[in-house]
Symmetry: C2
DNA sequence: CTGAAAGCGCTTACAG
DNA sequence: CTGAAAGCGCTTACAG
């Protein structure tokens, strides 16, 4: 910066003014500074900037590697942050990197706020961090006093899914859970509630599922082997749904002729050429917009941390595709 | 840090010494400082650290959102960097964020080196950046004088794939290219070379492919409609292979009975329950290890930027699974 | 083993 | 509109 100032024949503060787009520089001077900077390959130093600046310059994002849902939210976050004066700082959770480490890293980087996608941490631990720095939880509800959150309406979505199946004549539905996942408990609770509300009490089954296609296949095969294949299945995530689908088809159990299958999350991975899975979709783009909105609110000097945190529940949409159809009442072959 | 020093009754430099694990602090003092820091919720500021430190503290990584291959490499990078004194700084490329912007961000963050996964930029642009900061290109060969690179051996892999098909009796092979991808040209060139070397000259076809399952389906359907379905297909990426597979099966063309299909990259997405696709695999973990190794070399004061850049070509392995089988010489039904 | 002082590259008042 | 000076939170010599 000093070099640029010298080369352009101005003071260093003037260069700073030009780069911050602050008032106080003539049109000509501004252009000359910019030209010199370009010529010298000058890049403004973010560390120095954020160290000296009186307000934060960045928003931290904690996400998980290899999850299409997280990638989709991230994509939305970049879009949402584009019009603001903030930049995104990323920190990934993976097999070799715990969520705690990822969050520590973000806290050390002078982020003004933290967005955490699908956190798997205890709510109490998130609370502790939220006391140090504003926290927005995405896709995971947090009822602690300090945390803003944005989630999808599992219950409303589940309602739509079950009603869809009932409309097709299905009288019993088996739900495959996902114990380890961030929204797992919530989804299971939603299913139980909805099943009761829609009078599915006797026909509602909950079975431990998982998060991978492999587990889905195994479950499907167990069902077939036990001669106990339900007429409708809601899988708590799409990988599971895909596995169940594959497992059933492999054993000659028709989908949707004999069994209807619904997935959740609407990942791109679902859009396979062979069969498009009916799925309950989260609106990743709105999730991202709202998350950035919350962060901006906390970052604004006017509002700041004063107000109590806000939770928002976004509707889910049921995308009806190829894997759901009329109930056959066990009259078709394929049932064990 | 000043607060911690005051609270622990020591000087600020002593706190710094403790946190840097530098010699010069008594065991007791060290523990007291650590205890106080924990109690106060002190987090060392990365911006200040990297600004003041005489050597770089971080390595920047530029990757693309929603690509399983990139995620796999990232996972390996986190593992590889764990034992070093450096941290990873991530910057994502996505629909709403150009690769240039992602790299600019990294340059502004005082990274000591940049790892770029599957860059789509012109080599000349990478060169310009490499003059400012050491650059390691992953999965994209760079012959400019300034850039280290680590790639997979497309030609050796292709050799293995074609030989495998020949061993099964296939006399002609159609290659589906991937014009937009980062390694696209290289793979296509590799196929042409290998086809010639293995005497497949007449039977070698190159056809424009793509990067999505949808494109794969379309191509398969065009082949079926034109009555021109080859006996063996190598797709330049796995999504394409999956699409081709789906498209063929849908029209009753048996895989591998009538057509053999090989994909490339061995993404997790390939491990579907129904059919496991034979694929040419990149070793993402070694790719990551080597990339970090290159960066460390450039970062070490001893070696530094003095030596000329090194390129490394890693072997690919052919994972033979369900989609390749003996050639049927057009005697089976299903050929148009 | 411990403390006082300088300085990384910026931004931010404040005086000309 | 422009320049000199202070300071963000650390690390790094260097003196006790």
């Amino acid at each position: 910066m000093r070099d640029v100032a010298r080369e352009a024949g101005v003071s260093q503060s003037l260069v700073s003014i030009v780069f911050r787009d602050a008032p106080g520089a003539g049109e000509q001077t501004r252009e000359r500074v910019l030209e010199v900077a370009r010529r010298l390959g000058y890049v403004r130093d973010e560390s120095a900037r954020s160290l000296r600046s009186t307000r934060p310059l960045s928003i931290g994002v904690c996400f998980r590697l290899g999850r299409p849902f997280h990638d989709a939210v991230l994509e939305g976050l970049y879009r949402a942050v584009a019009g603001t004066p903030y930049r995104l700082v990323l920190s990934a959770v993976s097999g070799s990197r715990a969520e705690e480490a990822a969050l520590d890293d973000l806290e050390a980087c002078r982020c003004g706020a933290l967005l955490v996608i699908g956190s798997l941490l205890e709510e109490s631990e998130l609370s502790v961090r939220a006391r140090r720095i504003p926290l927005v939880s995405v896709a995971r509800r947090c009822d602690s006093a300090e945390i803003d959150w944005v989630v999808s309406d599992d219950e409303g979505g589940m309602d739509r899914a079950v009603a869809h199946l009932q409309g097709l004549g299905h009288e019993s539905v088996t739900y495959l859970s996902c114990p380890g996942a961030s929204g797992g408990e919530n989804r299971e609770r939603a299913f139980r509630k909805v099943a009761q509300r829609l009078g599915l009490v006797g026909g509602a089954q909950v079975r431990v599922g998982g998060e991978s296609e492999e587990e889905g296949v195994r479950i499907a095969e167990e069902m077939v082997a036990a001669g106990n294949v339900p007429s409708a299945i809601i899988a708590s995530n799409d990988s599971l749904a895909l596995g169940v689908l594959g497992g059933l088809l492999r054993h000659g159990v028709g989908v949707p002729e004999r069994v209807s299958v619904i997935g959740m999350d609407d990942l791109k991975a679902l859009h396979r050429p062979r069969v498009k899975v009916t799925s309950l979709c989260q609106d990743t783009s709105r999730l991202a917009d709202l998350a950035i909105g919350r962060a901006l609110r906390r970052l604004s000097p006017a509002e700041g941390r004063g107000t109590r945190p806000r939770g928002t529940i976004l509707p889910m949409s049921l995308e009806v595709r190829d894997t759901t159809g009329p109930a056959t009442l066990g009259k078709l072959p394929g049932g064990a």
